[in-house]
Amino acid sequence: MKSASALLAGLLFGLGLTYSGMTNPSKVLGFLDLTGQWDPSLAFVMGGALLVGAIAFPFALQRSKSVLGNTISLATSTKIDRRLVIGGLTFGVGWGLAGFCPGPVLASFAFGGAKPALFGTAMLIGMAVFEVLERVKENTISKSGMDSHY
């Protein structure tokens, strides 16, 4: 049941990405090209998503459990730190280089040919590199006797 609802949400998410134009890197770069021929469409994608989200999220977060009985799982950190900013900037450079971010590239696999596949593979490798580095860091911290939770 939880997988079925996640599949449904994923399908809707993917349909939204496809219909909105987000799966077209050329269009995404048109949005990021502020000083050139600017295509404001992506602001409408974000606006539409936030219109629903800003109403639905506060409502959903009032509940202690989800409809299917899960605990509501949110990021607990409120720290605005170097990781957040450097990570965001790094992601933004990659986004600006190719015009792909993680959702749209997944929704491009079926029809996009070799290029989304190549970007997607590199993205997964990047994520795996992060996991390895985090584990090395966790091991170093726990070996030095400090609390490994951060």
Binding site: K2, S3, S5, A6, A9, G10, L11, L12, F13, L15, T18, S20, G21, M22, S26, G30, L32, D33, L34, T35, D39, S41, F44, M46, G48, L50, L51, A56, F57, S66, L68, I72, S73, L74, T78, R83, L84, G88, L89, T90, F91, G92, G94, W95, G96, G99, F100, P102, L106, F109, G112, L118, F119, A122, L124, I125, G126, V129, F130, E131
Partner: protein, 143 residues
């Protein structure tokens, strides 16, 4: 700045955005989860018992959706201008950056801003700004 009226698709983009918002709201209301793509995919690389199936199902949905879309309507164009080497570098940066910064356009942008998280607002400003600057440098500075 001049507006690119030829490519501007306000209605389709707004409608697509509404669907993305609806999907994110559904995942939160039904599953209690944030629809952050980089977090969902990243979690599959650190598999934990009982936490894999919903992630795989959501990812499968996103991947399959365009196939269903194509049965009902013509797919919008998909044009990738970046070269193969650029795609590799960009993919690595997006992979590392989204995990290091704990989210991407969906997790921070859509979901984080929807719950008014200051952290997500900072991240969204950071990656959008970096995107603007990167395209400026490539197209108007060195290009």
């Amino acid at each position: 700045m001049t507006i690119d009226w030829n490519h501007f698709t306000p209605w389709a983009s707004l409608t697509g955005g509404l669907l993305i918002g609806l999907a994110s709201a559904l995942l939160l209301i039904l599953n209690g989860r944030i629809a952050g793509i980089s977090g969902i995919v990243g979690g599959l690389l650190r598999p934990q018992k009982g936490d894999v199936a919903w992630r795989a199902a959501f990812v499968a949905g996103v991947v399959i959706a365009p196939v269903l879309f194509s049965l009902a309507a013509r797919l919008p164009p998909l044009q990738v201008d970046a070269s193969y080497p650029t795609l590799i570098v960009a993919g690595l940066l997006v992979g590392i950056g989204t995990r290091y910064g704990s989210g991407c356009t969906s997790g921070h942008g859509v979901c984080g801003l929807s719950r008014r998280s200051p952290r997500s607002a900072v991240a969204t400003v950071a990656f959008t700004l970096a995107g603007f600057v990167t395209v400026y440098v490539i197209r108007h500075s060195i290009g």
